[in-house]
């Protein structure tokens, strides 16, 4: 899937914009605050019907105006053009796809898949386990609706069980009641762990390859599932045994302390934990490799090549990594890159736009 044309009206600092886009590589450069990320935000909106910067859609309407429009022409992998128009009128949003009104906006998600790589993503490699679980859960949910349903059910059972643990601590109920919820928790929990482990197993090799290509063979990246329980959990019986072994502690805390909601993913380079021991440059390369995995996974699962947005990331890599990123990215579909500094790509096959105060000017590629 690629975006061939983008139209913006009264969107953030763009009063009126109509640009043709490059099928492979689009580079947006310009000083801070000129509107580079706004372009990425509008593209993100077309794919996921919401912003990645704000939860309030009205914030995207140009200051002092009531309505804003984002419209895009997409070209499918088969070369068919789809027109999507999104109009924000006050709090209401109306969407049409190829002239037909889209009633359930969530139906759009997954049709124009997209992967965003933004500065906040560093949390995946350096942040708490919750950030890595979020990465995993969002990716698996996008690609597989039954994962999402199971996840929601697991969370529901978890809340019920935590309430029971609190009641048990106050000696208000019998332990038999808890055992029921242990069983349902084990069922949903095992299914989540199984999906996650299968996913990690499948991506282990490609991830290693991406990383060695990005880092020029400096180190071997491996990924493991880290259980919150002492023993690994594969079957429902093991799950229940694990719950039994922490029973006293859980009652004392009134909280479920083992399971998918506490598990983690551990990334290592030559055996060293990325989170604790990797340099910033290494962490960036790991992240990039993870993002390429995300891209590739969505592509094979949904069957459509996602659009890739790199917000302020590329320029922070060293020349060697930049070169390899460029070579890896070019194997995929369409990419958008923002950068405050000028980027010199090894290939002239791209469009570079200079962004100044809500306007884009295409730069003519000049021979060096």
């Amino acid at each position: 899937m690629l975006l061939s044309r983008l139209l913006l009206k009264q969107f953030r600092n763009y009063t009126e914009l109509d640009i043709e886009l490059h099928p492979h590589l689009n580079i947006l450069t310009g000083e801070n605050g000129q509107g580079k990320t706004n372009i990425l935000e509008s593209i993100y909106c077309l794919s996921l019907v919401k912003s990645f910067r704000t939860s309030k859609d009205t914030e995207m309407v140009q200051f002092g105006r009531d309505t804003s429009t984002i419209a895009g022409d997409y070209q499918s992998d088969h070369g068919v053009t789809h027109k999507i128009v999104m109009i924000q009128n006050g709090r209401r949003k109306s969407i049409s796809l190829d002239g037909k009104r889209v009633i359930r906006h969530s139906d759009l998600i997954g049709q124009f898949p997209l992967v965003l790589f933004s500065p906040e993503d560093h949390r995946i490699t350096s942040g708490t386990p919750a950030e890595r679980r979020k990465f995993l859960d969002i990716l698996l949910s996008q690609a597989n609706r039954s994962y999402l349903k199971t996840l929601q059910e697991y969370q529901r059972i978890l809340r019920q069980r935590n309430q029971l643990l609190a009641l048990l601590a106050e000696k208000k109920i019998s332990i038999q009641e808890l055992e029921i919820w242990n069983e349902t928790l084990a069922e949903a929990g095992c299914s989540l762990i199984d999906s996650r482990r299968k996913f990690l197993h499948n991506i282990a090799e490609p991830l290693k390859e991406y990383y060695s290509s990005i880092s020029e063979n400096k180190g071997v990246l491996e990924i493991h599932y880290a259980h919150s329980s002492v023993e690994e959990i594969e079957t429902k019986e093991q799950y229940q045994e694990a719950l039994a072994s922490v029973f006293g502690k859980e009652v004392a805390l009134s909280k479920t302390i083992i399971g998918p909601h506490r598990d983690d993913i551990v990334l290592t380079i030559d055996g060293r934990d990325v989170r604790k021991h990797a340099s910033r440059g290494e962490q960036k390369s790991v992240l990039l490799a993870l993002k390429l995995i995300e891209l590739n996974y969505l592509k094979t699962k949904i069957g459509v090549t996602p659009v890739l947005l790199l917000d302020d990331i590329y320029s922070e890599l060293d020349t060697g990594r930049q070169k390899h990123v460029f070579e890896t990215i070019c194997r995929f579909g369409q990419t958008f890159i923002t950068s405050a500094t000028r980027i010199n790509f090894p290939s002239p096959d791209n469009s570079t736009f200079i962004v100044t105060n809500g306007n884009l000017v295409r730069q003519q590629s000049s021979p060096k």
Partner: protein
């Protein structure tokens, strides 16, 4: 803003307590009723009063009824060796509509939900176990396919296992007349894992 008639205000307030009805809808309903002929409003009022005066729970199965025990429990042609356990009276109605079931029912009055403070003692589980002492061969657990419904079914099956009564759970699967491609992934996945041999 309030109306100049207290009677209207009270009616609006009472109606807005109903599920799914807010103040605006309640006002609309009251105006509708005011425009109706007196007789039809009176018969609505009479129906509401009769609800509270005549309808009660069957002491055997806890379905809603006007007679004791209820018509299903008393029916001579019903199979008394089989009991279908459901959460609410609505569920009895749904199963009756199938015309496929000829046994008795047991209405639990909800499902286990610690968050809402509903434990086994708040449901009619003890009453169910007592009923099992009379020559019951099979218990069908037809609680909802939610986390709470599953937990409730599991809880009851644990109790009946010790009593040696055959306990079954209703199957989940593809709706009849439904296209496979429109069936949601979760239902389809469960239907696949619970497939039956032909």
């Amino acid at each position: 803003m309030d109306f100049t008639s207290d009677v209207v205000n009270i009616a609006v307030e009472e109606l807005s307590k109903l599920p799914g009805i807010g103040k605006k809808t309640a006002q609309r309903l009251v105006f509708f009723l005011l425009k109706q002929e007196g007789e039809s409003v009176k018969s609505l009022a009479a129906a509401l009063v009769a609800l509270t005066e005549r309808v009660r729970y069957c002491p055997v199965c806890f379905n809603i009824t006007e007679q004791t025990p209820c018509a299903i429990c008393e029916h001579p042609k019903r199979d008394r060796h089989i009991i279908c356990v459901v959460e609410e009276p609505n569920d009895v109605l749904a199963i009756e509509r199938t015309g496929e079931y000829h046994g008795l029912y047991h209405v639990l009055g909800g499902a286990l939900s610690p968050l809402e403070g509903i434990g086994p003692d708040n449901l009619r589980i003890r009453e169910l176990i007592k009923r099992l002492q009379d020559d019951v061969d099979e218990l069908i657990l037809a609680t909802n396919a939610s986390a709470e419904g599953e937990a409730t079914a599991l809880y009851i099956s644990k109790l009946t296992r010790d009593l040696g009564i055959k306990t079954t759970r209703i199957a989940r699967g593809v709706p009849v007349g439904g296209d496979l491609e429109y069936t949601d992934e979760v239902t389809l996945a469960r239907a696949l894992s619970n497939r039956t041999e032909l």
